[in-house]
Subunit: 323 residues, 2 copies
């Protein structure tokens, strides 16, 4: 390696700013077994907005029997004071989309897997059947003037199939973009990604959806820390052109195949690292840390996030007294 | 970012192989309050060696009253069957060095901080007094034909002073190299580093100690996951020319200023990520995971490491049965 010339290349690969998309109220809360009061959920969401979070996935309009934790989706989405924050919600199907639009959600988030077995396991239909069913959702949303994004699951590996060919991801992505999808969110659903792979996927996807220098759709990425590589994957993605990341406050979330394993990349840990690297997020970190600490107390849990335990790197300690 | 040309730069920044230096038996065990039986320590160390670890910091020859956990340093170092693994030990001073050489340790590891207040707090003397005291250790070791390395603490930030100027690190490094130090181990003692800073320090130090294209001393780095950025820092260091890393099995270790915070970068999580990236370590990962799981049971603890909870990314799951 040429030490003399590498510095600028490495530094130039970093953006000045990235967008942090908070998904804790959906992806984090949905795995918690005890129902969380709607008022507490709303308080957390509104506090996150006040801390500067500009996009939040607030809930999921799944069937209440499938995910009882999300049974308050309608009331929650109607009640949250958005104050300029984009509040979007996951919708599994047309009925969910109807409910979400009724509740005034500003963007819909569809979900489909890049691997056949995972899609079958997750929504009991083939990838093509999922994509076909989305036509009606796109139609409905267009009529309401509400944009639709989509999360593609198992992009970096499938827990049932292993490696997922990039062609599968691109095929699903193109179908979604043809239907009018404004954002593709590429998910490492069970934490199988590694930084070299992330670099390849990032460049491949950005290249694939570029048209005359502009992107046909926004690209976001969603990493889990299931095997400890979440933050390294985020760094790699950022170095390779991705500037939108889904993260979860406190590191809430999880993996059904790994009880006790870490969940999503932790919002405040990511923001802490990014700010220390001079990459802006628009988030007020001390305020965010207060929100997370209050949520931890209110939920009576220990979150996996690290910065709430250690404090920020800029917070100095008094010299220990010698006895 | 130019997607067309960046790929090769990113990939070319990765080495084919790195060296993993296991420090759990010293840096991990020393923070555990209950004394661990010497026989168990030896069993863990020998199992790590059998899993392919090629360098291990086995203990510390500190005064038994200062760190009671390390009171068996002499017996342990004498007993371990090395089988080709380099077993080195921390020595705080001349007395420790004499004990370590007596016990047949193959390399000594000195420690000095890059920040004055941390050195004062850690060893109750100035940096210059520490460096002066090392002269006798280097002399003794040279007489015994045993090489000396040194760990420089607080390279990436000091919990009492904050930012640590790179000039402090280089000054300490040069003094050590002049005395004959074969390896500088740059430590993020309390987990304050970020990947951009790591890139700068890595390039600066590699450049500073290069003489006609070869390094005057080996360079290793030691990261903590105190604020969640440990693996991202390791990735950044590796992309910027560092190929030796100290890690701790299970992620054992910690930070006196952050109770409950994560410790060192976890050996098996790092090895998992590196192997998935096609960066070799010489370690047999399945065997390492067995060792760590057995150690976790024997110590009756839950380690912070992730891969022991989630399994390797290549371990697939059966499709869930539909009822």
């Amino acid at each position: 390696m040429d030490i003399g010339t590498t510095p600028s290349v490495w530094d130039e690969s970093l953006p000045d700013a990235v967008e942090i998309i908070e998904v804790g109220p959906r992806d984090g809360f949905q795995i918690l077994p005890e129902f969380i009061d709607t008022s507490l959920k709303i308080r957390v969401i509104e506090s996150l907005i006040k801390a500067g979070v500009q996009r939040i996935e607030v809930t999921s309009f799944v069937h209440p029997k499938a995910v009882p934790q999300m049974r308050d989706a309608d009331e929650l989405a109607e009640t949250v004071r958005r104050n300029g924050c984009q509040c979007f919600a996951m919708v599994p199907n047309l009925i969910g989309a109807e409910r979400a639009l009724e509740a005034g959600v500003e963007m819909l988030n569809l979900v489909v897997s890049a691997s056949e077995t995972h899609n079958q396991s997750n929504v009991r239909r083939s990838i093509d059947d999922s994509l076909s069913s989305f036509e009606a959702v796109f139609g409905l949303a267009e009529g309401a003037g509400v944009p639709v994004r989509a999360s593609i699951a198992t992009v970096f590996g499938c827990p049932f199939e292993g490696d997922v060919p990039i062609d599968n991801v691109l095929r699903v992505g193109h179908k979604l973009v043809e239907m009018g999808c404004v954002e593709l969110n590429l998910c490492d659903t069970t934490g199988m990604a590694n930084p070299r792979q992330v670099a390849h996927v990032a460049r491949w996807v950005l290249n694939e959806f570029s048209q005359n220098g502009t992107l046909a759709t926004s690209i976001a990425m969603h990493f889990h820390n299931t095997r400890g590589a979440g933050m390294a994957n985020l760094l790699s993605a950022m170095q390779n052109g991705i500037t939108s990341f889904e993260t979860s406050f406190g590191g809430l979330g999880g993996c059904p195949f790994a009880p006790g394993a870490a969940g999503n990349v932790c919002t405040e840990d990511a923001v802490h690292m990014l700010h220390d690297m001079d990459v802006a997020t628009g988030i007020d970190l001390p305020r965010l840390l207060n929100v997370v600490q209050q949520a931890e107390q209110a939920l009576d849990m220990t979150f996996p996030g690290q910065v709430i335990k250690a404090g920020r790197s800029c917070e100095l300690h008094p010299l220990p007294r010698r006895t």
